[in-house]
């Protein structure tokens, strides 16, 4: 059974349908990649799924229930890496990750945070304030924020953005491990190598232009 089901999704801005009649299913341990040109609606779909936007029509269900991102259970299960990452200006990278891990009551949070920092390659930047990170490091920080907490569904909007070639290869490996651990993945990507390495299904969205 699919964990995430989207049926008849439509999002209209003014008199333009950015997305129309979209159906998709993602089950545990599966990855679905949305691909398409700029403006084809990839991010809009992800925003509707994560509750950051409201569909004009259609349903999004999680575990058989309408997905309501305000519910604690949904938030506990749904980890996102979107473009709207915000942070406390005076908390360091490691303090943010510590906060997220402890808020999710992760056992042995300190060790988990250290592991994730090593994994994303931000050990040297642990005590830096997020505002001082480079754009690539900020992307790694966003990924770390998602990996430091429990998750059943990962929603990633162009996670390869601003990562170097090695970073993309690392990300592909990491997402494969996520799948092996049973996490469902819904992602939008412009990186064919990442899509090929991770995705079980690929959905190509049409351009609105």
């Amino acid at each position: 059974m699919a964990l995430l089901e989207v049926r008849g999704l439509r999002r209209r801005y003014a008199d333009v349908d950015v997305v129309s009649g979209l159906d998709l299913d993602v089950g545990a341990g599966q990855a679905l990649a949305l691909v398409g040109s700029n403006g084809s609606g990839k991010s809009t779909v992800l925003r509707c799924v994560t509750g950051a936007d409201t569909p004009t029509e259609g349903t999004v269900t999680w575990d058989g229930e309408p997905l309501d991102e305000r519910k604690a259970g949904v938030r506990a299960a749904l980890a996102t890496v979107m473009d709207d990452l915000d942070h406390f200006p005076d908390l360091s990278v490691v303090e943010h990750l510590d906060l997220f891990a402890r808020a999710h009551r992760v056992p042995d949070a300190e060790a988990v945070v250290d592991d994730v920092l090593r994994d994303v390659g931000l050990v040297a930047q642990a005590s830096q304030l997020p505002g001082t990170l480079s754009s690539g490091q900020r992307r790694r920080f966003a990924l770390a924020s998602a990996f430091v907490r429990p998750r059943r569904l990962l929603v990633l909007d162009e996670p390869e953005q601003r990562l170097d070639t090695e970073g993309v290869a690392w990300l592909a490996g990491r997402l494969q491990r996520e799948k092996a651990d049973g996490t469902a993945i819904l992602m939008a990507s412009h990186e064919p190598a990442l899509v090929e390495a991770v995705a079980d299904q690929v959905l190509t969205l049409g351009t609105s232009r």
Partner: protein, 461 residues
Amino acid sequence: MAVFATVMLGGMFVNAVVQAGAVTDRLCASAACSDARSLVPWLVAGASLLAVVGASRLFGPVYVTPADATWLVSSPLDRAALLRPRLARVLLTTLLVTCAATGVGVLLAGASRGEGLAFTATAALLASVVAATCAYAQEHDRRSLVAGAQWVLVVVLWAAVAAVAVGEAPSVPLLPVGGPVTVVVVVAAAAAAVLGSIAAWRHLGRLRRRDVAGGGELAPGLSGALATLDLALAYDVVLAHRWRDRGAVRSGRGGPGGALALLTSELRRLRRSPHRLVVLAGTVVVPYAAAAAGTGRFVVLVAAAAGFAACLPLLSGLRVVSRGPSVARALPFSSALAQVMTAALPTLAALAYGAATTAAMREGDADPGAALACGLAVGAAAAASGVRWTTRRPPDYTRPLIATPAGAVPTNLYGSIIAGFDVLLLTVTPMLLAPDVRGATVSLLLSVGVWAYLVSRPPAR
């Protein structure tokens, strides 16, 4: 057109200030009020100097736009020649703004024309000296001196307000008119301004690119926020700039799990910037000074307004979880709970502030119970107003726009600038009408209701 509008609006403003001075003449009859009033020009002049130092720390004071920093500063041009017009602009702006602010203080204090002119000119010239000194000290290794000067000014101003609060305000005259002392003081201030400007002028060529680029990076963000009248966003920009300058911190880890992790995090942030709490505690003297100056039942308004302003820096955590969905989405509990956790400490601090103002509420032989109730209601009003200011929605350009001479304006643009002040007025009014337990209870209930509603709203999208 612009000149005409400036002259007309300026004339109206000066007229209003003169009228306010005349009204104060009639109402301020007691010795305590007269002494406090004589301090107003000094306080305004001191606050102007503080503003000059604050703005200089933020912007440089000499700065260049990002484009200039990229193309001109890094090219083999005479850097001093590039920066001289900017320094001149800084000095002139400082002179004019301090002149206007101190002039208002002098008019409110009811000083004579000659006395007021001499004092205003001296204050404006001294402000230019301060701006020139800040420009001279703009290299990073001398910035700590400017920061130290800022704190000295804060302490001096606070001591002056505290002196009014305890009824020990000295009756401080302005400069005596026509005497040799006045001439010496004004000429000395002018000489210092000229010498300071020359020193800063000659030093400009030694400024490094990083010294002048930082303020330029801040200015576009700040002007963008102010163009949409979004003061909370402007504060975000300043805060982000300050912390980016600092770069790194000694990280702290550990603590309880669940929603309490957010509270621990807020405690950690408070320990990192304890001056925010010190400022709130120091603000307690303001309502006492207002009471000593004989403002009567308006003490509650002054106390709540001062508490509201002093609370805002404490609410920066609430701002982060309410200005967008990103942080709240990463936490496994409702946005409302996240907002409650980040608003809890500032609210407790505001209530403590309110309780500390209790004695200032005891006008005449007022009931101590009523004074305590008013104090707590003042704290709650300050907290509710602060939460309103912090969680206000940005201008929504998807709404219908109104055509104005300034262009198309979203319907919530002007409303958003009064956010915070609206709740302040709403919650204080019952106490202004009935400064007793009943009025305080109604005010408290209003504040609690507003606070609860605001923190339960989902974050802005």
